[in-house]
Amino acid sequence: MKTDVRALWKKAKTYWKEAPQGRYMPFREIAAVSLGGMGVKFITNTVVTMIVSTGNVLIGNTIGIPPMHVYFLYLAGVLANIPLTTLRARIIDYSHLKKGKYRPFVFLTAIPTALLGIGFVLLPYDRMRLVWKCASVLLFNIGFQFFYYFLYDSNENLVNVLSPNTYERSDVYSVKSIVDSLAPSITNIIVPLIARAVTGENVIYDMRVYRAVYPPILVLGVLLSVFIYCGTEEKIVQPKHHRIRVSFFDTLRMVVKNKYFWIISLASCLGFLEASFFNILGWMYNYQDVCSAGQFALITTIYGNAALWAMVFTPLLVRRVGKKNLLVWSNVMNIFFIALMFPVVRRAPKVSMIWIFLVCMFVNHVVTQITVTITPSINGDIRDYQQYISGERVDGIFAVVGLIGSVWNLATGSVLPAIYDKAGLNAETAAALGYDSGNIYDVLYNEQYFRSICGVLIVASVIGATLNVVPYFFYDLTETKQEGMIAVLKVRAMLEDYAHGDLSQETLAEGMELIEAAEKHAGKQSEPLPDRRRDKAEYKRVRAHNRELAIAEMVRGELCYFDLPQTQPLFERAERIVQAGALGFPAQMDTDLQAVKAMPKGTPQEKEYRKKWLEIARSEQATRRNLSACSTRKTARMKRLRRHTR
């Protein structure tokens, strides 16, 4: 143990300023990201309580805005978020700041977010009329929609641009999650203590408490976020002088073609029912009186602790089984553990019900948190894939396409209340059972109804979790493929930098080493994996060898692209079009869409080749359409001009 600690200390000292071999982030940078991330979490966790949502306690209970008004404010906030997300995406992808894509914005948006948060809690709501309360909450929320989400996105995506190594990203996300989760833990400890000191009672939802707690937390958050600005450096693999030359809508079109983005988005959209069982634990305590207050506090603490284990073990599991398998297995286990809850709520005796349920919830939370922990890293891989297929590095635009998800959430938001209603959680049942307080949740006091409603919710969750896992089976972006893509991007960056006469020694060395490795492995065959249990060392060697071969093959594919027989027609067509010039090229556009559609698509190569020709045929078709629209507009303009002259 002592030796381990000493070795770790030595390692930390060695790699404090210099990153380890094959890595991009020295330990100092990881510390800066984690501490700065904790600062950002202080701000975001505080401000999120001020963002309008239908069940918001601060806005509803403390400020005193009625639920229907809150709902309209929520709708206004969601609508305002659409143009603001587009604006944020434009700023991220098109500003070309020297300091980086996300890094400067973490600090720049932390200040206004914190100022808005302080302003929000300091307003004298008790002396305001309802209309002014609503107006101020709405205005503050429009500010939050821009600055808060900018800060949140920048912090979430920062690691993706700090290292192109997918394993390193998973490791850093894990460390960062553990450190920055301290922020809500600290806040949760402080708030009840200060609330007691300020109000003299155990009341948290009091404006005086918010005024005493939030401003210092927000200032501390801003101060900590400076670590990110001062201690990090973005390392996107792209040519030095490369500037995005594609219009905003064209980048949108590019992202729409990214299949991995759709797989991940589809999974989260289809799984909207998965969270149906979340309220059951609270209901057991509240309506069935299955444990004491102290026991319930212990239960929630144990449940919250599950996330920590997921954060600790995710990097190891990613190395062992890979992200795709981890996604599939964690989601399959998720289904299993949710299904296990069904007999617990239907049959288990009341005395032990909550404890058995806690075991299921705990294991389920560990496996779901694995997915949550690797999702940012997967998003990083998806962005690399986008750069690999399109040649343009875009990050912000993903949030715009992701808006479809928020529209879907709005649409599916009514499904859960409908399930509640169908399961018997409605006014009629409450009246039939003799509860006439007007609160439909009183139905849950009845044990028979409680068990039946919870059973329905668990079945809904199982359906949601099953739908959620299906898209992951189609996710085939392995770690090796990601490494191959990064290698190709490095070679491309070297060639482009050389063409611009600005090639650095490091870029040259990195690119040429990859090319030499690719040539060294030419003609070699991958070996079958031996049994891991029999010979661990041999298993590791073969796995590393196969990985190197796969990366080398991707680099060779890039270098020999123009030697392939199927590339020749593409090249010849390109030569013809360029020779015809910018004005004469339409005469050379002769690709027949129907003929292209009839091309064979049996093998992956044929599929790839057909896809390329399809893109060409469609772009030619669009150009023909554009040109004819231009000439129609020109004729109409001429006609108008002639009429005017007459």
Partner: protein
């Protein structure tokens, strides 16, 4: 008085430039959309040209080593 006139002139100039910029950006977008096959073909040829310089890079790398 002079400062105010100068400020107004500058504002007018700023507006003129913004209008011009908007017009040029629009024209550029229209061009890139209309000439997409031509630009893509250019990109492909450029890629080939760059790959042809690999031997020069090999020599450069050998010299640096």
């Amino acid at each position: 008085m002079k400062d105010r006139q100068q400020a107004a002139a500058l504002r007018a100039k700023k507006q003129r430039i913004a209008r011009q910029l908007k017009k040029t950006t629009k024209a550029h977008t229209m061009y890139t959309r209309a000439a997409r096959p031509y630009l893509d073909a250019q990109k492909l040829l450029q890629r080939k040209e760059r790959l042809e310089k690999l031997d020069e890079l090999r020599k450069l790398y050998a010299a640096a080593e």
